[in-house]
């Protein structure tokens, strides 16, 4: 594709598409739901993770130490699993009486 795209893009070092992980969940701007999902009683109640290990992970990340890829993956995996349970096992609220699909037709035999 030489000549079709900018030379600098053609020659650049490939960069994987990534987004920040631990800084999105731990620290002063962290969302409230994360604290709720990662507290000991919620971890115990949902039952997927070892609360002591989760606590240790969160504490280590909170201390601003170097966070490894594995720790980032663990953090995202734990929070997303907790959210999965929250949405689909605990609540399952996706339809309210006020919501309806748009412009519906119903054809009955």
């Amino acid at each position: 594709m030489k000549g079709k795209i900018p030379e600098s893009i053609l020659k650049r070092h490939k960069q994987a598409y990534r987004a920040p992980v631990h800084t999105s969940f731990i620290g002063p701007g962290a969302p409230a739901y994360v604290k709720e999902l990662l507290n000991e009683s919620t971890i115990n109640s949902f039952g997927y993770f070892n609360p002591a290990k989760v606590d240790k992970l969160v504490e280590k990340i909170g201390q601003n130490g170097q966070v490894t890829e594995m720790e980032n993956m663990a953090l995202a995996g734990i929070i997303s699993t907790q959210l999965l349970h929250h949405f689909f096992i605990q609540d399952n609220v996706f339809v309210s009486p006020a919501d309806k699909p748009a412009n519906m037709i119903i054809i009955e035999e």
Binding site: F25, G77, F94
Partner: protein, 548 residues
């Protein structure tokens, strides 16, 4: 692009599917189709659709029926070659009543049965009811761009574009599948047809299913396949490049077919730049492009995105996001992925599609698939270097090559040979393993299962997720070249199960935006598969043919 849902009754089912049940399912996925919706109710069947109208804006409300209401369809997706297939069907005397690709899909099925799938160039999840045979036909595109999930409950077979739709039926059990979790905490996704939920499965990519009162049968109609190395294309690189350009041009051209505006994502990399270049070549008018960047400069590619936008003179809109925003929107992200995820990268894609939709754009073309089909990822280089190193495991020089692959990882910057050996040396000598390219990544990822609660670990009882993959490999996998094997694993597991779903369909459709991927046109895939490995990964130069 749409969302679909349905319920099929086995003979022992007590009640026919109801409008209330289908409405609840469709309401749960209404963002997939905010323009219109429809339900068909028969004695043994209920079909539903929410529609994002893109082709045949005024005549495409679903369900659609043909041949005196013998066949009914609900459909999510695009048949990009519908014009050509329609022409073939018209030559056979078939007359059409709408301008939609949906009707072409249905007529093609009525004419050719499941064999119609071989002719389809597209991205789709299809449900067709044959009223005379009392038979349900479900199908999914070759690589799994569009989703389709199903379960059996209370003598009913229930399917939907998203799992949350299934859970609107009260008899459907809701429980997390611990083996599925173990798979995700190893491969980043489950192994098809498993999902993170017990008794909930997906129609596997490249498969169709036939459901009737006697059986539920799944059949593969396409598989990613590679020739043996001795049978690779004998074309010279120049000729092969021309061939790829011709195919890709057509893949882009048919993906510009829409009755609404088509825009593009610019990531700042080669793939989306190439895609944009071909869009310009096919349709030289003004193109709207979009990109997402990060306030955290370690992740940001905005300068390259803006450079590409300037080069192609597009009407570009650039957004950037903060870690705080990612944390905030991660909550919504998981409501849509319906899968645990091990990174936050889908969230900015969710935020981007939200911005795109705010500008009333429904369709974007992107560069997904090039890294898998033309060997762009570092994992392919990593495997190559590890094999080279394994031939002389004592070497202190060979592992240093690995250092260049991950400059964005802090621990790699100043890594010494001993550290590299420790990090990358896992099962170094097992070069005969069919999973050699991925052993290290899967091993490293699986270590996060240490965070599982003791009862979860006890319940897994030595379960090894790799066993499931061994069973799912293509028949002649063992005869393929090393790169082909790793491309297959990367494409069928990570790409289909995570990239196209959690980061792709679900993040775009959450905001009613459809993604189109010319690099995943199966003609491009099949063409790339038969190229010599050196045309893709040349020494350590990735996507070599794309740079010619």
């Amino acid at each position: 692009m749409c969302g679909i849902a349905g319920i099929f009754n086995f003979p022992a089912a007590e009640n026919s599917p109801t409008g209330q049940q289908l409405t609840a399912m469709l309401t749960a996925i209404r963002y997939r189709g905010p323009d219109e919706s429809g339900i068909y109710l028969g004695k043994k069947i209920g079909l539903g659709n929410v529609r994002l109208s893109i082709i045949g804006l005024s005549s495409g409300q679903q369900p659609i029926s043909i041949r005196d209401k013998k066949y009914w369809i609900v459909y999510n997706g695009e048949l990009f070659n519908y014009i050509e297939i329609k022409r073939d069907l018209e030559k056979l005397g078939i007359r059409f009543t709408t301008q939609t690709d949906t009707e072409v899909v249905l007529q093609a099925y009525a004419q050719w049965g499941p064999a119609c799938l071989q002719q389809f160039v597209g991205q789709f999840a299809i449900a067709i009811w044959d009223k005379e045979k009392e038979e349900l036909f479900l199908a999914r595109d070759r690589v799994g761009i569009r989703p389709l999930f199903y379960t059996r409950s209370g003598n009913q077979f229930i399917f939907c574009s998203e799992i949350k739709g299934l859970f609107q039926i009260p008899t459907v059990r809701r429980a997390v599948n611990h083996k599925g979790l173990s798979q995700i905490f190893t491969f980043w996704t489950t192994i098809t047809p498993e999902t993170p939920f017990e008794d909930v499965f997906e129609v596997s990519p490249g498969h169709y299913m036939i459901v009737n009162e006697h059986s539920v049968r799944s059949q593969q109609y396409w598989n990613l396949s590679f020739p043996e190395p001795k049978d690779y294309s004998k074309k010279k690189i120049e000729e092969a490049t021309e061939g790829l350009r011709d195919l890709f041009r057509d893949a882009v051209k048919i993906r510009l077919r829409a009755d609404v505006e088509v825009a593009a994502y610019l990531s700042g990399g080669i793939d989306s730049s190439v895609t944009t270049a071909f869009i310009h070549e096919v349709e030289p008018g003004v193109l709207n492009t979009f990109s997402i960047g990060f306030k955290d400069k370690a992740f940001d590619e905005t300068s390259f995105q803006l450079e590409a936008a300037k080069y192609f003179n597009t009407n570009h809109t650039a957004f950037s996001c903060t870690s705080e925003e990612i944390g905030k929107y991660f909550y919504d992200t998981i409501r849509h992925t319906e899968f645990p995820i091990l990174r936050t990268a889908p969230t900015p894609m969710y935020m981007l599609s939200k911005k795109v939709r705010e500008q009333n754009i429904k369709v974007v073309i992107t560069g997904e698939g090039a890294d898998e089909m033309l060997a762009g990822y570092n994992i392919f280089k990593e495997a190559k270097i590890r094999r080279f190193w394994a031939r002389n495991p004592q070497s202190d020089i060979r592992p240093l090559l690995l250092k260049k692959l991950y400059p964005y990882l802090p621990m790699m910057k100043d890594a010494k040979t001993s550290v590299l050996k420790m990090f990358f040396g896992y099962k170094l000598g097992e070069t005969d393993s069919p999973f050699y390219s991925h052993l290290l990544r899967w091993h490293n990822t699986s270590r996060i299962q240490n965070y599982f609660a003791d009862p979860v670990l006890a319940g897994l009882d030595g379960y090894d997720p790799l066993d499931g993959i061994s069973k799912s490999l293509a028949g002649n996998f063992s005869k393929w070249g090393d790169l082909a094997k790793s491309q297959y694993l990367e494409s069928t597991i990570f790409m289909s199960g995570y990239l196209l779903s959690s980061q792709g369909d679900r993040m775009a459709m959450a905001n009613s935006v459809e993604g189109r991927y010319p690099f995943l046109d199966h003609r491009v895939i099949e063409y790339a598969a038969q190229l010599p490995e050196s045309f893709k990964l040349n020494s350590l130069n990735e996507k070599f043919i794309l740079k010619k």
